[in-house]
């Protein structure tokens, strides 16, 4: 059945509408998780707040398990899902640059918009810098072009890379995530002294 747009079950023109709805939902969840505060985000690096790790790990877990069951039920054809090609070296460099931005400003691109939406001045400055960076990168792109496309490994999944099934990888990943939840919680408790777990 799925994915809906590549299979033509939803006309291609609707993708912007769907993207808008998903974007609103994403922004809402970011704000509700407290990601509009740069203190919460930078807290990962100082060990007093691991909410970023928890929220994103949980999102990934829900998605992995959900897609696994969808595929089993035949509701989605995983071969039609777009998998971003892997370029190891440029991606590692990109991640380092992103991490430096993360720890210095306390925002990633997505959260800077949520913070702008609630009127944080540092977020406006950050977003200004973001566009300046995009502009400089685009103008000087020919200089890095060969590095940018270096070492294309194709659309590779971790399961394929290690030669294990996606189900097994999902299971391993969930174990890793649960251990990470527990360890980060212990670290938080030690660093912050007072921890108020979120009640739900």
């Amino acid at each position: 059945m799925g994915p809906l747009i590549p299979q033509g079950l939803i006309a291609g023109g609707w993708d912007f509408v769907i993207a808008l709805l998903l974007g609103v939902a994403f922004g809402f969840i970011l704000e509700a998780s407290g990601f509009s505060s740069s203190r919460n985000i930078a807290g990962v690096f100082y060990g007093y707040n691991f909410v970023v790790l928890r929220v994103f790990f949980t999102a990934v877990l829900v998605c992995m398990v959900g897609l696994g069951y969808f595929e089993y039920m035949g509701w989605i054809n995983m071969d039609l899902i777009y998998v971003l090609p892997t370029f190891p070296k440029p991606m590692i460099l990109g991640a380092i640059i992103m991490g430096i931005g993360f720890v210095t400003a306390g925002f990633c691109p997505g959260t800077s918009y949520t913070a702008m939406a609630i009127g944080k001045i540092d977020a406006f400055v950050f977003t200004g810098g973001l566009f300046l960076g995009i502009f400089i990168f685009s103008e000087t792109f020919p200089l890095f072009e060969s590095f940018y496309y270096e070492g294309n490994m194709g659309s590779l999944t971790i399961g394929e890379f290690f030669g294990i099934s996606n189900q097994l990888f999902t299971f391993i990943f969930i174990i890793i995530a649960l251990v990470a939840y527990y360890v980060t919680w212990m670290i938080e408790k030690r660093v912050r002294k007072t921890v108020n777990p979120f009640k739900f």
Partner: protein, 204 residues
């Protein structure tokens, strides 16, 4: 630690182990009996030997000829550029990669069209698209392409054109001599010169 977190963690573990324990579900893509019947009763899957010959001659890159006879027959005689996938090993791991290639038109053939038709049904059930059967198989191929019969003198122009095509195809596939007037490839060029005339030739 909040009890709810522990419950959620256990829930995730159960869901993940569920995924791990579920048997691989394959072939859920196979088509329904109704759809299969609809495709079986209509003859759109058949390609004539003439169409196949033309595709081979033109070097159609999307053409994938699949000989479903056994290996011995295949090595004895087959169509040019055909691959051999015996009918009984069509589902084997080694051969499955030949099917379902994007933009490729798979054409099954055998001596007649029974085995090829069976292969077609199997491939159809597996959900492959762009699959065809060469009508009449290799017997028909020999009769029409390799040894074409000249039509009766009262036959229509189309039949004669078809015969001409088949004759050409026969030469292509058997390497038969072309009965064209022998020449060394060079033709004398006769130069026609205009006669000189003093009269101004008419312009408008």
């Amino acid at each position: 630690m909040n009890r709810n977190y522990i419950i959620l963690a256990i829930l995730f573990l159960i869901l993940a182990s569920g995924l791990l324990l579920l048997p691989e579900r394959e072939n859920y893509k196979q088509i329904s009996p109704g759809e299969l019947m609809r495709d079986v009763v209509q003859n759109t899957r058949y390609l004539t030997t003439d169409q196949v010959a033309q595709m081979i001659i033109e070097g159609d890159p999307t053409l994938e000829l699949v000989d479903v006879r056994n290996e011995g027959d295949y090595f004895e005689y087959s169509l040019p550029r055909a691959i051999n996938v015996p009918l009984d090993s069509i589902l084997a791991e080694d051969y499955i990669g030949y099917f379902g290639i994007e933009d490729m038109n798979v054409v099954f053939f055998s001596n007649d069209d029974i085995k090829a038709d069976q292969a077609w049904v199997i491939a159809k059930r597996m959900g492959y698209k762009s699959i065809y059967v060469m009508k009449g198989g290799l017997n028909c191929w020999i009769k029409t392409i390799i040894q074409p019969q000249s039509p009766a003198e009262t036959a229509s122009k189309e039949e004669f054109e078809l015969y001409d095509f088949r004759k050409g195809a026969s030469m292509y596939f058997t390497g038969a001599e072309i009965s064209a007037p022998a020449s060394d490839g060079e033709q004398a060029v006769t130069v026609k010169r205009k006669k000189k005339s003093s009269v101004a030739e008419g312009g408008c």
